[in-house]
């Protein structure tokens, strides 16, 4: 039980992620079938819907923007600063910092991850592993959005007796960029809001907030 308690954050978000993904499947199918009936078309089963491009483009356009948000945030917070924000590093620590501060190579201790101690390419890779993985997931999900989005778009084109488009043309289409940008704008707003609001607002007990009594200009400290 104690072990479980130590992982409640990831478990909670995994649970609500699954619940909302499943919920999206049900309401998405209902929404799709509503449109089908309006077009005098045939409805489809839930099983068919969740294996359709219509469903997966809606999923992937959101995933790619979330991972882009984290990719930019991870790399941005290395060099960019925000005075007073707990989301920022301290004002004199912009950049990659020293090996000593980062506990790599000879400065690693017995509890450091193995690749932090190893040195060379392995340490270099591990030092950027968060960015690499977040960025890779972003690119993969964005690619998936473009593929599934093109299929869904072309189905709509054919339904209206218009010619379909190839993948290259779709990448330049307003449909692709509308899906992309509507997601990006909300992600960037959320991150920016968090960086700024946390300067002046507090949430007692959360590491996302400064301590309640911390001054507004205190930078890079957690509650």
């Amino acid at each position: 039980m104690k072990a479980l308690r130590n992982h409640t954050l990831s478990l909670f978000f995994a649970a609500i992620f699954l619940a909302t993904l499943i919920g999206q499947a049900f309401v998405g199918q209902d929404d799709f079938n509503h449109a089908q009936l309006a077009h005098e078309g045939d409805v489809i089963s839930l099983g068919r819907y969740v294996t359709s491009s219509e469903y997966w483009v809606d999923v992937l356009e959101n995933w790619q923007s979330e991972y882009l948000q984290f990719t930019l945030y991870v790399v941005g917070t290395v060099w960019l600063l925000q005075r007073g924000s707990p989301e920022s590093k301290e004002l004199d620590k912009a950049g990659l910092e020293s090996d000593e501060d980062q506990l790599v190579g000879p400065h690693a201790d017995e509890r450091s991850p193995r690749w932090a101690r190893a040195g060379g390419l392995r340490t270099r890779l591990y030092s950027n592993s968060l960015l690499i993985v977040m960025g890779a997931i972003w690119i993969a999900s964005w690619l998936g959005q473009s593929v599934t989005g093109r299929i869904a778009y072309n189905a709509e084109q054919l339904d209206h007796h218009l010619a379909p488009v190839d993948w290259g043309v779709y990448l330049g289409s307003s449909d692709f960029w509308n899906r992309t940008l509507q997601n990006w704008q909300s992600e960037f707003l959320a991150v920016g809001s968090m960086a700024v609001l946390s300067i002046y607002l507090r949430q007692r007990g959360s590491p996302e907030s400064k301590p309640v009594g911390a001054p507004h200009d205190a930078t890079g400290i957690e509650g």
């Binding site: 359709s52 593929v147 299929i151 189905a155």
Partner: protein
């Protein structure tokens, strides 16, 4: 009508990238679409209105009957369609397009009856086939 059959993200992504500019549908769907188009062409050439109408969607049959004020099997034989073989088939979800060797196109939809033609005898609008609907002799 929309919907696309995706059998898993990784295969879909790889399939989509590999397909590039070509339209890709499952092999079975492509074969069925081709078969419907060929059955329609053969029936139209043979003046077999009954069989030709059986390849149309119910909405297309109804539209034709309303437009011509005759039963579909009589009205369809009066439509002048140029002969042509299937040159290319593209399937996206529940929709498909057949391009014929004579330059015309046909549009199909997948419904309860399987793949059926929603429009035949279609020619693209000048220079903008992606933005303006094809001009079709028979459509829903």
């Amino acid at each position: 009508m929309r919907v696309l059959r995706a059998r898993g993200i990784v295969p879909i992504v790889l399939l989509g990238v590999a397909c590039g500019g070509a339209g890709c549908g499952g092999g079975t769907d492509v074969a069925e679409v081709r078969a419907v188009s060929e059955r329609f062409s053969a029936a139209a050439e043979a003046n077999d209105g009954e069989r030709a109408c059986a390849q149309l969607t119910p909405q297309t049959r109804a539209q034709l009957e309303e437009q011509e004020q005759r039963q579909c099997r009589e009205a369809i034989t009066g439509v002048r369609l140029e002969a042509g073989s299937v040159a290319r088939v593209q399937v996206y979800a529940l929709n498909a397009m057949v391009e014929l060797s004579n330059g015309e196109a046909e549009f199909l939809e997948q419904g309860q009856e399987g793949w059926r033609l929603s429009a035949v005898g279609c020619t693209p609008q000048k220079d903008k086939p992606r933005d303006q609907p094809y001009d079709c002799q028979v459509e829903d």
